[in-house]
């Protein structure tokens, strides 16, 4: 595991784990957004790579990927180097579908990870059975390979995946694709409880979290909250309306989402 992921153990829970798409709305704004998110309390950054056929993603992230067209894994990893130069200290993980990763090549990825201070890797369409040698290699390279579990994951399988997980364990709150939702799958609490009993790593919940109320509720039952679609939607909206001062309004939005004092409840 990378040192930056090790440091998560001492952080206040729940961890705030935002997902953003590299290159949306632009590479420069991606860098600024990463820094802003750190300032506003992000503990880990998930940096998405646009893909033409994102099977696990809902419309918001699909549209974001379209806007970010032309961004590649390599270019995104080079953005991380720039983020680090400007003061980004939190762990960064690359979120990519398997095909772009396959075409880049494993060795190139690890080389780029070292050159650009990348800490983790998440491939949503590479299930446990297909990822064994890659997970092994990640361990050797001190890159955290993030595994996902879902409400449809059986307890036996959950145990296996949890035992092998690195960085944090990503629990999917709902069936279907990413995107904002009102309710989670009824099995979610069971999933989180079991996951926590199977691993000492932080257990984070993602898919569908978009409101302050959800953030608080989820934060009570797990160690981390992953938010993607609603951040991407908000940045896109604010940046489109006001490219010069989107960040001010976005900070306010983030506070209302993740910070106790700004709670609307």
């Amino acid at each position: 595991m990378s040192i930056r992921f090790e440091n998560l153990k001492s952080k206040t829970k729940p961890l705030f784990i935002p997902f953003i798409m590299a290159g949306d709305p632009s590479p420069e704004i991606t860098i600024e957004l990463a820094l802003l998110l750190q300032e506003e309390g992000a503990d880990v950054l998930e940096l998405g790579i646009p893909y033409s056929d994102p099977l696990a993603d809902g419309p918001v992230i699909q549209e974001s990927a379209k806007r970010a067209k032309g961004m590649t894994i390599k270019k995104a990893m080079q953005l991380v180097k720039e983020m680090r130069k400007r003061g980004l200290e939190i762990p960064v993980l690359i979120f990519t579908y398997f095909n772009p990763f396959l075409q880049l090549g494993r060795e190139t990825f690890f080389q780029l990870a070292e050159e650009n201070d990348v800490d983790g890797l998440l491939i949503p369409d590479l299930p446990f059975e297909e990822s064994e040698s890659l997970r092994q290699r990640c361990m050797e390279e001190q890159i955290s390979y993030i595994s996902l579990v879902a409400p449809t994951t059986s307890p036996e399988r959950l145990y296996q995946i949890a035992q092998e997980s690195q960085g944090f364990l990503y629990c999917v709150s709902s069936l279907g694709v990413t995107g904002e939702r009102k309710d989670f799958h009824p099995e979610t609490k069971r999933l989180l409880r079991e996951a926590k009993s199977f691993t000492d790593l932080p257990v984070a919940l993602g898919f569908g979290i978009s409101s302050r109320q959800q953030f608080v509720e989820v934060g009570k039952v797990c160690d981390g909250v992953i938010i993607g679609s609603s951040i991407i939607r908000k940045v896109h909206q604010l940046y489109t309306e006001c490219p010069d001062s989107w960040d001010v309004a976005f900070r306010a939005y983030l506070s209302s989402l993740t910070k106790e004092e700004a709670s609307v409840n």
Binding site: L55, Q103, A150
Partner: protein, 397 residues
């Protein structure tokens, strides 16, 4: 041995596998188990056989194409008449099998993707007959191009969902069907239309389509007293081709798959993923794909909506890699010409997909001896293509 694949991990050599989000893993395991049990259940096999015989009209004939044979002056040309199936194509073999399986598994809802609408119509048909609800995802562009099939599906009681994402064609309809399935996986069966997708789909669809080759072998033996020398089939995802080829893999028979060459390979506008593609992962399987250097999928092109797919079934990738099957390409123009020849010579209007196989077979037959025979899988009838052909012919006048 070519016929022992896929292995336990769903692989055909390095191809195939199961590259899907975790949410779907249990459903694929459940499906694999249910299919294997069904294939050992006499009652299920009897029901499937009964339906294929008395509902779809199997066995389909193997017709001798006498006039075409004379015209090309070489090998005797035979046509495996999948166009005579109920709903007009081989797609129904798979749809009946999978929908009966869905029913056996206690699923009440079926979801499917479709390109031109042939698979969608087949699934809607089977769902109507066996009493399941049916949702078909179809790219917005295809909905516009194939309005007749959209209406057919609706008549059959299916809900057709126009897909707005991505490039709005078959690839995106497949993405959207899989996304929908991931959200409804507990009570919904995903009926995939070709030998593509994650394991066990390529295996299931191949086994349900094998009947094409099994019948052909027997029929050809009755007519000619031997195995055919060569067999030709068109390949988009590749379900009619694998169904035809698979029973012959261990035999001394030349097998030729034909990909859509579109406007010509050199133009870049084609759907020839084996001929020009590279190895990658799409829709849950490792196979040959049309993609750029960064792994983004390139939209294919073909006059034939049924061949207009950026990947190919993983077993075809394997058979191409091991050189057991040779893959060629046929352009739009060559396919249209073959369609017209068959219509004029034999009184059979083939689907534009099947016409790709015909065009290649005509070339091959002309160079073969008169005592040899060549079988073409005539995967579907061409009524659906009349509008397209009309436009082409008007354009060339």
């Amino acid at each position: 041995m070519q016929t022992t694949y896929p292995d336990l991990k769903g692989r055909f050599g390095q191809f195939g596998g199961r590259y899907v989000p975790e949410t779907l893993m249990f459903a694929l395991e459940e499906l694999e188990e249910a299919f294997n049990l069904a294939m050992e259940d006499e009652d299920f096999l009897e029901e499937l056989d009964h339906e294929l015989t008395h509902y779809s009209g199997r066995p389909t004939p193997l017709s001798y194409a006498e006039n075409s044979t004379k015209r090309f002056g070489g090998a005797r040309i035979y046509l495996k008449r999948e166009d005579l199936n109920h709903t007009g194509a081989h797609k129904i073999n798979n749809a009946i099998g999978q929908v009966l399986l869905a029913k056996r598994m206690g699923k009440s809802k079926v979801v499917a993707e479709t390109g031109a609408g042939q698979h969608g119509v087949a699934v809607a048909t089977a769902c109507a007959r066996y009493g399941l609800s049916c949702k078909v995802f179809m790219g917005e562009e295809d909905v516009e191009r194939q309005s007749l099939n959209v209406f057919r599906m609706k008549l059959l009681g299916a809900e057709v969902i126009s897909v707005q994402s991505g490039s709005k064609t078959l690839k995106d309809a497949t993405n959207e069907a899989i996304r929908y399935w991931a959200g409804a996986v507990q009570d919904t069966f995903y009926c995939i239309g070709s030998v593509v997708g994650p394991h066990p789909y390529p295996y299931i669809v191949r086994n349900l389509q094998r009947i094409i080759g099994v019948e052909t072998k027997q029929q050809h033996h009755t007519l000619e007293g031997k195995l055919p020398d060569r067999i030709v089939a068109c390949v988009g995802g590749g379900s009619n081709a694998i169904g035809m080829f698979h029973p012959f893999l261990e035999d001394k028979v030349d097998l030729i798959g034909v990909e859509a060459g579109g406007h010509g390979i050199e133009t870049g506008e084609h759907a020839a993923s084996i001929t020009t593609g590279s190895i990658g992962v799409l829709h849950g399987a490792m196979t040959f794909l049309n993609q750029d250097l960064n792994g983004q999928i390139i939209e294919p092109y073909s006059i034939s909506a049924g061949l207009d797919y950026p990947g190919v079934g993983p077993e075809h990738a394997f058979l191409a890699d091991s050189k057991r099957v040779i893959y060629k390409t046929i352009t739009d123009d060559e396919a249209v010409e073959a369609l017209i020849i068959l219509s004029e010579e034999e009184g059979i209007l083939p689907a534009i997909e099947s016409a790709h196989a015909l065009a290649q077979a005509f070339k091959e037959a002309a160079e073969m001896d008169q005592n040899q025979s060549i079988v073409v899988c005539l995967s579907g009838r061409g009524d659906k293509d009349v509008g397209t052909i009309m436009k082409v012919m008007e354009g060339s006048q």
